[in-house]
Point group: C2
Chain length 188, copies 2
C-alpha cells in the first residue's frame, strides 16, 4: 500500500547524483513537493543515508560552517551511479502520481528514448482507468458523496496527466504531432 519503499532510496541517489546534498537539503527540497511526493521524516531520512554509506552507494564530506552545526554533504559513488543506472533501465512498475514523479526525479539524465518509454508506460497505465471513469460518471451533476467526488477528482487528475504526457511526448519526439482524441481532452 505504502508504495515501493525502495523508491525512496533511488530518489535520494538521484538527487545526490545531480549535486551533493545534506540530509537537510534533501528534506528542504522534498518539502516543496510535499503535496505531490511527500517529505520524509528525520527518522527515515537519516537512517536511509547511513544505509547508503554502509552499502557503498554514497560517500560523505563533512563541511564545517562557522557557527552553524557542520553539514554532511553526501556524494554518490561509482557503485551508486551504477545501481541507479541499473534501476533506471528496468521498466517502471505501475503506481501513483507520487511514484511516477519520484521516478522522474530519481532517474534524471535519461536519453529521450528512455523518457519516451517511461511516459508511454504511464500513458498506457492511465488509458484504462480514464476510459472507465469517463463513462461511469455521466456528467458533473448529481451525487456529492465522498466517493463520487473522489471519482470525479480521479478523472480530472488522469485527464490532466494524459494531456501532459501527450504534450511531453510530442516534444520529446521532436515534432510528430499526435492527434488528440476526445478522451485526452476530458475536463472535470
Amino acid at each position: 500500500m505504502t508504495e515501493n519503499r525502495v523508491g525512496f532510496r533511488y530518489l535520494i541517489l538521484g538527487l545526490i547524483a545531480e549535486r551533493p546534498m545534506s540530509g537537510y537539503d534533501i528534506m528542504r527540497f522534498l518539502e516543496n513537493l510535499n503535496w505531490l511526493i511527500g517529505a520524509p521524516s528525520c527518522g527515515s531520512l537519516y537512517p536511509a543515508l547511513r544505509r547508503l554509506l554502509q552499502d557503498g552507494l554514497a560517500t560523505v564530506e563533512v563541511v564545517a560552517q562557522g557557527n552553524r552545526p557542520p553539514k554532511k554533504l553526501y556524494h554518490i559513488s561509482d557503485e551508486g551511479r551504477r545501481l541507479l543506472r541499473e534501476w533506471t533501465e528496468q521498466p517502471s512498475a505501475p503506481g501513483t502520481p507520487r511514484a511516477f514523479a519520484m521516478r522522474l526525479v530519481a532517474a534524471n539524465s535519461r536519453s529521450p528514448a528512455e523518457l519516451v518509454a517511461e511516459l508511454e508506460r504511464r500513458k498506457s497505465e492511465l488509458a484504462g482507468p480514464l476510459a472507465r471513469l469517463g463513462h461511469s460518471l455521466g456528467g458533473p451533476e448529481g451525487d456529492d458523496s465522498g466517493t463520487a467526488l473522489a471519482l470525479r477528482y480521479a478523472r480530472t487528475v488522469a485527464a490532466a496527466e494524459v494531456g501532459w504526457l501527450n504534450d511531453a511526448l510530442t516534444r520529446l519526439r521532436g515534432s510528430t504531432p499526435q492527434p488528440l482524441d476526445s478522451a485526452t481532452r476530458l475536463q472535470g
Copy 2:
C-alpha cells in the same frame, strides 16, 4: 515518507461503511485506483482486517458460496463508525493526491460544509507550490532532464487539481449556500 499509515485503516473503514465488503472486494476496488491510490498487498490487507476485528471496529459475516471458498464480509461496527466520524471531523493533514483521494473515499457521507472545508484546505495547500512552479519554469521550452520534466508534470497536476477544486467548490456552495463560518475561513 510512506504517507500516513493509519490512513489505510480509515480507508477500509470508509469502504465497509458504505457496504459490507470482503478482503477480496476491497482489493478489487482499490486495483481500479491503483494508478492514484495504490492497492494493498494480501500481506497488509488481511492483517489489517484482523486488527479491525480485534479493536472492535468491525464484525465479520461468513458467507458460504456453493463451491467457491467462503467469503468473509466485513461490517463496520458502531464503534468503528464513531471512530471514523471522529477522524473525519478533525482537519486533514497536508499530503499527496493519493492521501487526498483516500480521505475523500474514506470520509464519504460528509455534509456539504465539511466537504467545502476539506476542499478549501487542499486548495490552500496547492496555492503556494503552484505559484512557485508557475514562474520557476518560464514556458514549455528548454530542459528535458528528469527533474525539469517532473516539475512541469507537477505544475500540470497542481493546476488541474486547483481547477477541479474550484469547480467542485462552486457546485457545493451553489447547491447549499453556506455562510462562511470560522472553520471554512481558517484555511484561507
